[in-house]
């Protein structure tokens, strides 16, 4: 069966402002059907096959095909006895609030997705790595985990299948770098969260040196629906090649900021105009970051781009988290870039020199320009940094991510930069 464009599997149980479904209500709504179907009737390979065929791509921002990520694991029996699944719930990308919605709104969906995915990769222990500030999600997830354990969906010999799984909620203490999958593993081991060199990839040598898969919350929330209703149905939900729905969002000076589950590949125009209601009265549109702080700016001529991984990349940006930050015409773009680079400079883990020293330099240059103390030469130094801190020059993706809005911002807002320099003040203040 093929999915319809009006189906909203991820948010079907979510009632904003109300308590989420407890396990009994979730079961009545058809929940844990995928758990029974997979553990009783499918092999782990069949689950991986279905997810691969669904074209589910990682929803954390990088868009790596989930089935392929799962397939990269070593298959020997020794590795099978010690594998980990880590759920990346460290949602700290500025402008992004989709995983919070899913965890607070339907915690059992994530628990079920985690169990089914752990079965697929044959992990015996799973951790949900949750950011500290998500206190409501923490309480609701812990209750869902306890309820699932009491029902026998966690623990030894789940549903008589011979499959064992322990699921722990690990709460972090606030550091953006933990969202990098290798830094997350270092953090879980109780060390400073410094990213690791790849290869070896976590699927080969991850948590405590054991094969480990790290998946984003939204990614795993899709898995029960794929198992339950099939890859073909899942692909049919989307407008383009990347399967499923996507939680899109918009923040900034739009009429109705929020998050919406829509077919993957919905255009920017539809999200912005129909769902976010367009700009607030008195504000004009300037630019947007399509998927969090570490993506390239898009402008009005890009409105008909489909928000899927391939299309946004073709337009010179990245889908990222799919949560758009809208820049209006009464916000200073230089000040905004200063704000973004302050974030990245502060959140650099300090391990590699280009990031540790380069980002604060960028931040100081932008602060000077914003304060009316910049020189034209500073723009060249900033451009130089977009190369020095770009892909391949640093240990992890933090600094290259930081350079995405800077590189495109320098082009997009060139006039604004020059006005600050020539006027020796911020024209917006």
């Amino acid at each position: 069966m093929t999915g319809g464009k009006d189906e909203r599997p991820l948010t079907q149980n979510i009632r904003p402002g109300e308590e989420p479904l407890d396990i009994e209500a979730y079961l009545r709504a058809g929940g844990y059907a995928a758990l029974r179907k997979s553990l009783r009737g499918m092999t782990p390979e069949e689950v991986i096959h279905e997810v691969t065929a669904s074209n589910l791509r990682g929803r954390g921002g990088a868009g790596f095909p989930t089935g392929k990520k799962w397939s990269l694991q070593p298959a020997d029996d020794d590795a099978r006895a010690h594998k980990y699944l880590v759920v990346n719930a460290d949602e700290m990308e500025p402008g992004t609030f989709k995983d919070r919605l899913l965890m607070e709104g339907d915690p059992h969906q994530l628990v079920e997705g985690t169990i089914v995915s752990a079965f697929a990769i044959q992990a015996r222990v799973a951790y949900i790595f949750l950011r500290a500030e998500y206190t409501l999600a923490s309480r609701r997830l812990q209750r869902a985990i306890d309820e699932a354990r009491a029902k026998g969906y966690l623990g030894k010999n789940i549903l008589g299948s011979g499959f064992d799984l322990e699921l722990h909620l690990h709460r972090s203490a606030g550091r953006y770098i933990c969202g990098d999958e290798t830094a997350m593993l270092t953090a879980l081991e109780g060390n400073r969260a410094i990213p690791r060199a790849k290869p070896p990839y976590p699927q080969i040598s991850g948590l405590w040196g054991k094969p480990t898969v790290v998946n984003n919350v939204e990614t795993l929330a899709n898995v029960p629906h794929i198992v339950d209703r099939g890859a073909e149905w899942f692909r049919g939900l989307a407008h383009g090649e990347d399967g499923g729905t996507k939680i899109y969002g918009a923040s900034g000076r739009v009429k109705h900021p929020g998050a919406w589950e829509l077919p993957m590949g919905t255009t920017i125009r539809e999200i912005l105009e129909e769902h976010a209601g367009g700009m607030r009265d008195g504000y004009g549109f300037r630019a947007l970051l399509p998927g969090g702080a570490s993506t390239q700016f898009l402008v009005e001529k890009d409105f008909d781009i489909a928000m899927d991984f391939t299309s946004v990349e073709k337009a010179g940006s990245r889908l990222g988290t799919g949560m758009m930050i809208i820049v209006d015409d009464r916000t200073c773009p230089v000040g905004l870039l200063h704000n973004l680079q302050h974030f990245f400079a502060q959140e650099s883990c300090g391990w590699c020199t280009p990031c540790r020293d380069g980002l604060p330099w960028v931040e100081r240059l932008l602060a000077a320009i914003d304060a009316g103390q910049g020189e034209m030469r500073d723009l060249e130094i900033l451009e130089m940094h977009t190369d020095f801190l770009g892909p391949g020059k640093t240990f992890c993706a933090l600094a290259p991510g930081a350079m995405e809005p800077l590189e495109s911002g320098l082009k997009c807002f060139r006039e604004d930069f020059e006005r600050h320099i020539h006027l020796k003040r911020c024209p917006w203040r």
């Binding site: 500025p94 998500y134 206190t135 690990h170 550091r175 109780g190 400073r192 969002g249 900034g252 883990c349």
Partner: protein, 162 residues
Amino acid sequence: MSIVDDTCVLSPAEIEAVTALARQYEARRGACIEALRIVQRSHGWISDDRLREVARLLEMSPDELDGVATFYNLIFRRPVGRHVILICDSVSCWIMGYETLRDAFHTRLGVRLGETTADGRFTLLPIVCLGACDHAPTIMIDDDLYHDVDAARLGALLEQYP
């Protein structure tokens, strides 16, 4: 407020909680962030003595644990007020009025970011994106998230935190 701490051991309940947590990890130290949080919950911050005690329980050196503790935004190695106010300074909140809100807190509390009020009631800190950008500007007070925060109405909000 003095940085000298006169109690130097954890309570039996804290030791039990940390020990139970440590079983969830292949190596005990995996529990270190949550262990620090347990201690911080009772005492507000992590003194050197308590840090050493937690390190011993988790088979880490105090310096290793301090390396972890000082890495994170929300583990406090210095005394803080009875309530900690976190103001989101990331991009969506910045667009929607972070600077006005921060200045309103400065005026009302008489402290700058990173400082504690003289009566020891509030510590004011910046925080990165709280993940509620559709309702910016946002803050947290202790474990509670507040969104669409109106700089003109801080008084009523703060009264809830004596």
